[in-house]
């Protein structure tokens, strides 16, 4: 078991009941091969909770920057006598409501998103479950993995996160990304998914 839970400042009650009806009654997989790491336990894992912070940060920056720009434009027009004072004050209220709304959304959404993002590794491959309203489970058999990438953006690097991208020969599923993994876990997963039959892929 390698998903540590730093649980630093996640206010969200993590023990939210996970929708059981969406649970996939998957047949338990046989014991892992000898060289397989404990990662391939056939159980569902959440990604690193630090990913919530990252998403909140990005969402917050977006809301604040867009909000600021709109506010600046409004004030500028008002200051240049482009609109009467009462309209400006009305628009300020009208501006505040969506900013607060989107701000709340940017705060809450990452938690919801995180709750619905799971991955499961077994000897046969990896399965990624995601989606809040439209849910899907994407399964990638190890035999179909062409190659894998682990990438880290600057913000991700600060939080020790990484994105694992699995490439297959498919079309729609030509590259499947799993973001918010702990960097170490991502590296282990990559090693696990490396084509076992040599380096011809």
């Amino acid at each position: 078991m390698d998903d540590q839970e730093p649980d630093s400042n996640v206010e969200e009650p993590t023990a939210e009941p996970v929708e059981v009806e969406a649970e996939v009654a998957e047949t338990e997989v046989q014991e892992p091969e000898t060289e397989s790491i404990e990662l391939a336990d056939g159980k569902e894992h959440e990604v690193d909770p630090a990913a919530i912070q990252l998403k909140r940060l990005v969402g917050g920056i977006l809301v604040i920057s867009v909000g600021t720009v709109v506010l600046l434009v409004l004030t500028l027009v008002w200051a240049l006598d482009g609109m009467p004072g009462w309209l400006y004050r009305t628009l300020l209220v009208a501006w505040g409501t969506p900013v607060v709304g989107f701000g709340y959304f940017a705060w809450q959404w990452p938690v919801i998103h995180h709750r619905h993002l799971r991955y499961r590794v077994d000897r046969g491959g990896v399965r990624i479950r995601r989606g809040v309203l439209w849910r899907k489970i994407i399964s990638i058999p190890t035999t179909r993995v062409q190659h894998t990438d682990v990438s880290q953006g600057p913000l991700q690097r600060n939080l020790g996160l990484a994105t694992l991208t699995v490439h297959t020969a498919g079309t729609e599923g030509a590259s499947i990304s799993l973001t918010g993994l702990n960097h170490q876990v991502a590296l282990q997963l990559r090693d696990h998914l490396l084509p076992a039959h040599g380096d011809d892929g």
Binding site: E21, R135, T143, R144, G170
Partner: protein, 525 residues
Amino acid sequence: MTAEPRRLHRLSWLFLTASSAKGLILPLIFVFFASASNPFARFELLGAVFLIPTLISALIRQRIYNYRFAEDELVVREGVLTKKERHIPYERIHNIAVIRNPFHRMFGVASALIETAGSGKPEAVLRVLDMPAIAELRHLTLGAEEDVDPADDVDTDGAPATVSREQTTLLEVPTAELAKLGLISNRGAIIFAALAAFLTQAQLWQADGFDPEDWASRFKVQTPDWVTWLLDSSAVVSRVLLGVGVILVFLALLRLVSIGWHLVKYHGFTLVRQRGDLRTEFGLLTTVSSIIPTHKIQLVTTHDSILHRLLRRTSIDLETVGASEQGSDFEKQLAQGGFKSRQLLAPILEAGRAAGFLRQVLPDLDLEAVEWQPLSTRARQRIMKRMAIITGIQTFTLMSVLSVFLHPLVALHALWLPAVVLPLVWFGATGWLRYSRWGLTDNAVYYRSGWLGRAVSVVPFDKVQTVVLSASPFDRRKHMASVAVDTAGAGAMGHRIDIPYLDRSVAETIYQRLYAEAGSTEFNW
């Protein structure tokens, strides 16, 4: 294996120029029309300015272009300023399409398109080679993949169609069948649309000497009374007759165009098995011959439109790796049998022969061995409910609009909408669900669907890439889910394995099975 570099045919410059000039034709036509009234326009000069550099560049390219057969790869060198050397491993080459139009045939040459997995565009285009060179190319590249030792196989004797032993003809499409295919296909509409678009663009209507009214009056003078009545009379009957007549003539014309197009395009369609692979060859003006390695087939689909079924025919096409990406290269699309992402296996076939034919071509796939399983019994209820809600909203909108702008009583006529649409939807949904089925055999997954037009698709387990189990909010409300299979080289259009309206438990069973089967088979390019 021989390693000395080979050159293109000595007349290649002709075809290289032609191919580059193709891109210039449209601009030139545009210039022609734009400046038609300009007395100072010098078209011969303009043409020379465009053509001479093209010609020179073609001559240089012909001198520089070469290719050689290395131990296990084909090395293609090209480039005038920037030298390019491309190494194409034989095992990655999945098709060598050969294209011959009447000019090619006049000089006994052809263009060879080397197609590999992965990219939509041909890896290299050898424009042009003579027929022995093409035979050699095919032997040394595609032949190298088989157990057959390529060394004892180099018996190039010039004739394009001559292929080594073990060649069995699987399908030959007679001309009468092609005419039926033209009747079935809606290709005529597409050609007509393209033609109409071109004519409106070129504004030929306005060309001098064409005055529709003048023509009409001249026409009327020498025509019998009934035509005059039809054209002149303002009687409703004549209007309706004229309208229906024009539409009928137009439709007949479209079908005729379509039949003609198919007769030319697929003339002499043959499918042969050649050393384990499949080879198709067709075309009257432009001969296209294409090799489909059997193990590179990702998905096979049979199509039965309503016209197919009236004529008791079916069409079969397939997807191979790399053969996707619409709009890539014109010649490549030609090689694939038209403007679509799929290759034809059988353009037209007696419906009763389909299963047997497929078994013969691809012994692993058997449409008759499938135990077809239905979709969820609650699917129709869901379709009806959704359509009822949509139609309800539409009716309500229509009623509001009518009562505001006309009269509330007129608005009652909006009720015709649900009265007509909902029974149709019910019939459609019932028919669709009666036909739509899925099936798993020990080596492939099958899905068929359709109501008036039907399709059956097969993907062998070893071609399954990823498996996706998905559920929309509506699915979840009803404890349903759908299962989709991703394959290599899947085009944007077309029937595929994407099974909707499954009971959740059934969906999970299919999903688990596919995941396990894909995981226990190897995928080879």
